[in-house]
Amino acid sequence: MSPRSSFDKALAELQQDILRMASLVEQAIYDAVQSLVKLDVAGAAQVIMGDEMIDELYLEIEDKCVKLIATQQPIARDLRVAITGIKILLSLERMADHAVDIARATMCLSGQPLTVKCLEYIPQMGRLAQQMVKDGLDAYVNGDVQKAKEMCALDDEVDYIFAKVFRELINGMMENPKTVMQSAYLLYVSRYLERIADHATNIGEAVIYLVTGERRELN
C-alpha cells in the first residue's frame, strides 16, 4: 500500500470516528432535555455517565488526529481536513459537557414539581439545537456549504427564544420569589442550550473552511 492511500484511508477513518462521536453527542443532548422535561433523574444520571465514554472517544480520536499530522505532514486540503477534524471534535466535546450540565440541573430540580411557566421553550430550544448539530454533521459528511450556512441561520432562532426565556423567567422571579431557584436553574439550562447552538455554528464554520478554505463568521 502506498503511503498516499494509507493516508487517505486514515482521513476517511477520522471522518467515521467524528460521526461516531457525533451520534453519541446528539443522543446526549436529546436525553438531557427529555430527562429535564420529565424530571427523570435516572435518565439524567445516564447522560452524566455516558459522558465518560464521549470523553474517552474524544481523546482517542484527537490522538489519532495528532499522529496523522505528525507522521504524514499533510498540506493544503488534507491539512484542512485534519485541522477541521480537531475543531469539530472540540465543539462536539463541549456540547456533550453542556448536556451533562443540563442533566446536573435536572438532578437539582428533581423532587418538586416545576411550576415555572416557560418550560415549553426548553424542549423547543433543545430540538433546534439538536437539529443544528444534525444538519452541521450532515453538511460535514456531504461537504455541503449551503446546508452549513442554512444551519447557522437557525442560531438566530435559538438566540431569539433564549432572549424570550430570559425575559419571562426574570419576570416570573420578580412576581413570585418562591420560583427563583427553579427559574435560575432553567435559566442556566437555556443558556447551555444556547451555547450548544453556538458550538453547532462553529461546526458549520469549520465545514465552510474545510470546503472553500475561507473563514467565515456565521454566529
Binding site: A12, Q15, Q16, L19, R20, A22, S23, L24, E26, Q27, Y30, E120, R127, Q130, K134, L137, V141
Partner: protein
C-alpha cells in the same frame, strides 16, 4: 475416426480452390502453347478477378460487415437487433449463431431482470426497513421504508459508510460486530429518524456468507417497535393504576374493620360512623369495578348494540335535565343550542346517552361556580357534530393528547377528590369510535375546554 477433422472442412472452399487451380493451369497451358499472349491472358484474368472480387464481396465481406456492425450494437446492449442473412454457407451459419446467442442472452437478461424486480418488489413492499451493506460497510441498497424513516434518498446513500447515512453509534457498532464475527446479531436500538423524537427499532443484522472478494457483507432489518413499546408501557401503567385504585378503598375498609374488631364495635356511635365510611368505600369499589367492566366490554366490542336511528335532540334534552339540579347547586348556566330538526344518526341510544353523561359530568365537575356549560349540535356536511363547552379549569397542552387514555388524570389529587377514576373519557372515546365517529378536545388552561364529537348521519343521501 481418423478422418474426423475432414468434417470440419466444408466443400465450398475446396471446390473454389480446385476451380481456380483449373483456370490457372488452363491459362498456363494456353500460354505455353503460344495460343495466348500476356495481353490476352490479362484480358481473360481481369474480368474474371473482377467477377471473383464482386462475388467475394457479395458473399463474404458484405455479410461480415453487417455482422460486425450487429456485434458492436449488441455489445452496446441492443440485443433486439437481428441479422437477416439466410445463406447456407459459413457466413449464414455465423449469423444464425450470433442471432441465437443474442436471443439466449436476451432471455437470460430478462430472467435476471425479472428476478431482480421480484426481489425489489418484495423489498419495497416490506413493512420493515432493510439496509444491505458490502464487506467494507458501504451501503448497497436501502428500501423505501428506510428512505421514509430517515428521510433519505437511495441515490444519495449508495456507496457511503453507514455512519454517513444513519448517524447512530449503536447501529454502527452492531453492524461492525456482525461483519467481524460473521454471526447474526439482534438488538433494540433508539434511533433518531425524520421526526423530532427517536423511535425504537429491533435490529437484526445477518452477515452474508460468501467466499469471493465481491461477496460478503451484511443485511440489516429494522423493525419499528415504538408503538409496541408504548403499548407495553401503557399496560404496565394500567395494571399499576388499577391496583392502586383498588387498594386505596380496600386499605381503608380493612383499617376500619380492624379498629371495629379491636373494640370500637362496642361503641355504637363510632361503629355506625365507621360502617358508614366502609359503605362509602365499598360503593366506590363497586363503581370502579363496574366502570372497568363497561370499558373492557366496549373495548372488546362484546356489547350487543341496539342499533337504530337515534334522534339526538331527545337524548340531549334528557341528559341535560338529569344534570340541571347539579348545575343549579353550583350556580352554573347550562344552556342548549340544539336545532329542533336535527337529522338522526344510527347508533345505540343508551351508549350515546352515556357519552353525553360522561362529558357533561366532567364539564360540571371541573367548572367553578358561576360558570357556564353549553351543549351545541349542528350538521356539518354528512356529519353530525355535538359540542360540550365549559368555562372550567381547562386542560394543559401537554395533557391534551392523553385525556382519552384509561386512568389518565390531569390532576390526580383533585380528580380523586371529585370521585373520578379517569375512565369516563376512555369510555366516551370507545363508544364514539364504535359509532364510526371521532372525538376531539380543545382547551385553554384557565379559560375552559371544548369537547366535540362527530357522528355519521343515518341517511346522508336524503339531505
Amino acid at each position: 475416426m481418423k478422418l474426423n477433422f475432414l468434417r470440419g472442412i466444408s466443400w465450398r472452399p475446396v471446390v473454389s480452390y480446385f476451380f481456380l487451380m483449373a483456370i490457372f493451369f488452363a491459362l498456363l497451358q494456353l500460354y505455353a502453347a503460344k495460343k495466348l499472349s500476356v495481353l490476352g491472358a490479362l484480358f481473360i484474368i481481369l474480368p474474371l478477378s473482377v467477377l471473383l472480387a464482386w462475388l467475394l464481396y457479395q458473399r463474404v465481406i458484405g455479410p461480415l460487415n453487417e455482422i460486425i456492425a450487429a456485434a458492436r450494437d449488441m455489445a452496446r446492449g441492443n440485443l433486439d437487433r437481428e441479422l437477416h442473412i439466410y445463406t447456407q454457407d459459413e457466413i449464414g451459419e455465423l449469423a444464425r449463431s450470433i442471432n441465437d446467442m443474442a436471443r439466449q442472452l436476451r432471455n437470460t437478461i430478462d430472467m435476471i431482470t425479472e428476478e431482480r424486480n421480484r426481489a425489489r418488489a418484495i423489498l419495497d413492499s416490506m413493512a420493515d426497513g432493510v439496509i444491505a451493506l458490502d464487506r467494507e460497510g458501504r451501503v448497497l441498497l436501502i428500501n423505501p421504508v428506510v428512505e421514509e424513516i430517515f428521510d433519505l434518498r437511495q441515490e444519495t446513500c449508495l456507496g457511503k459508510k453507514i455512519l454517513g447515512v444513519i448517524r447512530n453509534y449503536d447501529v454502527e457498532r452492531l453492524l461492525r460486530k456482525a461483519l467481524e464475527t460473521q454471526k447474526p446479531t439482534s438488538e433494540e436500538v433508539k434511533i433518531f429518524g425524520a421526526g423530532p423524537d427517536p423511535r425504537i427499532f429491533r435490529l437484526h443484522a445477518t452477515p452474508l456468507k460468501g467466499s469471493g472478494r465481491e461477496t460478503g457483507g451484511v443485511v440489516v432489518v429494522l423493525r419499528d417497535i415504538t408503538e409496541r413499546k408504548k403499548l407495553e408501557q401503557m399496560r404496565t401503567e394500567f395494571v399499576a393504576n388499577v391496583s392502586h385504585e383498588l387498594r386505596t378503598p380496600l386499605t381503608s375498609i380493612k383499617g376500619f374493620l380492624e379498629t371495629l374488631l379491636d373494640g370500637a364495635m362496642n361503641d355504637p356511635k363510632t361503629s355506625r360512623q365507621f360502617l358508614e365510611i366502609m359503605s362509602q368505600e365499598t360503593e366506590r369499589l363497586t363503581r370502579l369495578v363496574d366502570e372497568l367492566l363497561d370499558l373492557s366490554k366496549i373495548e372488546e366490542r362484546r356489547v350487543v348494540h341496539r342499533w337504530q336511528p337515534v334522534n339526538l335532540v331527545d337524548i340531549i334534552n334528557r341528559v341535560a335535565s338529569l344534570f340541571r339540579p347539579q348545575a343549579k347547586e353550583k350556580a352554573l348556566t347550562l344552556s342548549l343550542e340544539v336545532p329542533r330538526d336535527l337529522p338522526s344518526v344510527y347508533g345505540d341510544p343508551d351508549m350515546l346517552a352515556q357519552v353525553l353523561i360522561n362529558l357533561l359530568d366532567n364539564a360540571i365537575k371541573y367548572t367553578p361556580p358561576w360558570g357556564s356549560v353549553t351543549i351545541r349540535a349542528m350538521v356539518l356536511e354528512d356529519q353530525l357534530r355535538v359540542e360540550v363547552e365549559d368555562t372550567g379549569l381547562g386542560i394543559p397542552a401537554e395533557s391534551l393528547p392523553r385525556v382519552f387514555e384509561r386512568f389518565y388524570r390531569v390532576d390526580k389529587a383533585r380528580s380523586r377528590e371529585l370521585g373520578g377514576f379517569g375512565i369516563g373519557l376512555a369510555i366516551v372515546k370507545h363508544i364514539i369510535r364504535a359509532h364510526g365517529g371521532k372525538i376531539e378536545v380543545e382547551s385553554t388552561p384557565g379559560k375552559g375546554s371544548l369537547f366535540y364529537f362527530t357522528l355519521p348521519l343515518a341517511e346522508p343521501a336524503s339531505r
